[in-house]
């Protein structure tokens, strides 16, 4: 076990803070950390994710960080279509086969099954007494998605190391290869063909083939400030520019009968969604942590906005109650509220001109979300610690939006999402 001087610890910690997705861990010692997460939505998606990370000091004051992630996902997920009074039949993403949705139920695509493997590595090093630089890369792969990227960051201490400013940037190149080929945006979903290839062909963004690319550039500017002996604050600004294929190839919209038809609001057909090919996301983030007689309170707030029209507020409160025997409990409350993207709609109406972009994805709808959680932390010995966490997450949207008409008025167009999360984490210094 190598102990380093405390100043260097602080620099390392702040560097890791700035490089948000970096594998460098803010440890003052060499450390191995692992975590297993089970996520389960009521009647919908279940997921399991495991992460193993290691941070190790090397010769020449280098700090190496490595992290491996594996996750598996299964279970039905909303496809974007509206409920109906009749049985609805949808073509599976592969193009062959179909699935049915019973009357009055939210259409769920039950073909979702995916595994993801990701690796992150980073290397950090002090340059002189007051500056720290780091660089890293990541790659991840799923059966229909892959990503490769790299990042770099720099931090500088000021004012007797009470202030640290930082700048970091990242670039990521992602490739989407949807099952059954890339659907033509806003085209009508065809009945299953059995040969699995009716989605293939030229999309209207002109790329052609079965895959599309997405480029993402990120930048984060940060200030960390020691306020007094018991308080530290952080202020971040982040910018992210995405370009390329940003559409979800598996999401659709219902085209419903108009108000003058004999069955107003009933589905006539389904079309594939379409999103813009560019997105600029910005966020400001503030966090304050204060020591209160042996316990710790952490308050964080984020304001997010983008050029798709989404605005959101996120507030987190953690309170770590420390017992004298080294055990701790930490209640957590998170509140989230977002507005809808400009091109979000719950359905389109037959006979009306198609919009330039359209999605019925509930993740781009207006909704609020609440997380309630509790963590129990217990030491095994002086160098290792176990953390057990349970959280409940729920989303509440507009179940009966004003634009609903006809039979759509009697259904939940934003069914409440309820999910449970359980996490087991283990940390060991060496």
């Amino acid at each position: 076990m190598k102990k380093r001087e405390s100043i260097k610890f602080a620099v390392t910690a702040l560097t890791a803070a700035l490089i948000g997705s970096s594998a460098v861990h803010a440890a003052d010692q060499d450390q191995v950390e692992s975590s297993l997460l089970i996520y389960s939505e009521k009647d919908r998606v279940s997921a399991a994710e495991g992460i193993v990370g290691i941070s190790k000091h090397l010769r020449g004051e280098f700090l190496l960080g490595l992290r491996l992630t594996y996750d598996g996902l299964t279970g039905p997920s909303p496809n974007g279509a509206t409920p109906s009074s009749k049985i609805q039949t949808f073509t599976r993403p592969s193009g062959s086969g179909s699935y049915d949705t019973q009357p009055g139920r939210t259409p769920l695509d039950d073909t979702f099954k995916d595994t993801r493997f990701a690796a992150d590595a980073s290397l950090g090093r002090p340059i002189g007494r007051m500056t720290q630089v780091s660089t890293g890369f990541h790659l991840s792969t799923e059966h229909d998605y892959s990503s490769f990227g790299f990042n770099a960051g720099l931090t500088r201490d000021l004012f007797q190391r009470n202030t640290t400013i930082g700048l970091s940037g990242a670039y990521s190149r992602d490739a989407v290869k949807p099952e059954g080929g890339v659907p033509v945006s806003l085209s009508t979903m065809l009945p299953p063909s059995g040969d699995g290839d009716e989605h293939e062909g030229e999309d209207d963004d002109g790329e052609g083939g079965d895959s599309r690319n997405k480029d993402v550039i990120d930048a984060v500017v940060s200030i960390n400030q020691v306020v007094d002996r018991s308080t530290i604050v952080r202020l971040n600004y982040s910018y992210s520019h995405s370009s390329g294929y940003l559409t979800d190839p598996y999401k659709i919209l219902s085209v419903v009968q108009d108000a003058s038809s004999p069955t107003p609001g009933a589905p006539d057909s389904y079309i594939y969604e379409k999103r813009p090919t560019g997105r600029n996301k910005q966020a400001v983030y503030g966090e304050v942590r204060r020591y209160l007689g042996g316990h710790t309170i952490d308050l964080a707030y984020r304001y997010f906005w983008d050029d798709w029209g989404v605005r959101s507020h996120t507030a987190d409160i953690f309170f770590a109650w420390q017992f004298k025997n080294g055990h701790a409990i930490q209640p957590h409350v998170r509140w989230y509220s977002q507005s809808a993207a400009d091109f979000h709609r719950y359905f389109t109406i037959k006979g009306e001109p198609l919009p330039e972009n359209a999605t019925a994805d509930s993740r781009l709808a207006k909704f609020d979300a609440l997380t309630l959680g509790m963590e129990y932390s217990l030491p095994f010995n002086s160098v290792s610690r176990l953390r057990l966490t349970g959280e409940y997450y729920t989303q509440m949207g507009d179940t009966s939006p004003p634009e609903a008409f006809g039979e759509l008025r009697q259904y939940d167009l934003f069914p409440k999402l309820k999910a449970f999360m359980f996490r087991v984490g283990f940390v060991r210094d060496f």
């Binding site: 910690a13 803010a26 692992s34 400030q225 996301k281 966490t389 999360m421």
Partner: protein, 79 residues
């Protein structure tokens, strides 16, 4: 249009606050020998980096927002 203009003003305001913060920071803080509490493990903001990244992954795949604490970019087909 109104929201875009608000966002621009908010960016400008934040830059102003950031600039003011840096100059104001010079008078804040503690001496080296007063860092006993700040050095405690529970005062390290990134002590649970892996847990926070797992949470961010969940929220990134269920909500329209990302970033703020760190990068908000790609790497996952979940959104």
């Amino acid at each position: 249009m109104y929201l875009k203009r608000s966002a621009k003003w908010l960016s400008f305001l934040l830059l102003l606050i950031a600039a003011a913060s840096v100059s104001g920071c010079a008078s804040m803080g503690v001496k080296v020998w007063e860092r006993d509490i700040l050095a405690k493990p529970q005062m390290q903001m990134d002590a649970q980096a892996i847990d926070r990244s797992m949470d961010d992954h969940i929220y990134f795949s269920k909500e329209a927002s990302s970033g703020g604490r760190g990068f908000g970019g790609g790497g996952c087909g979940c959104n």
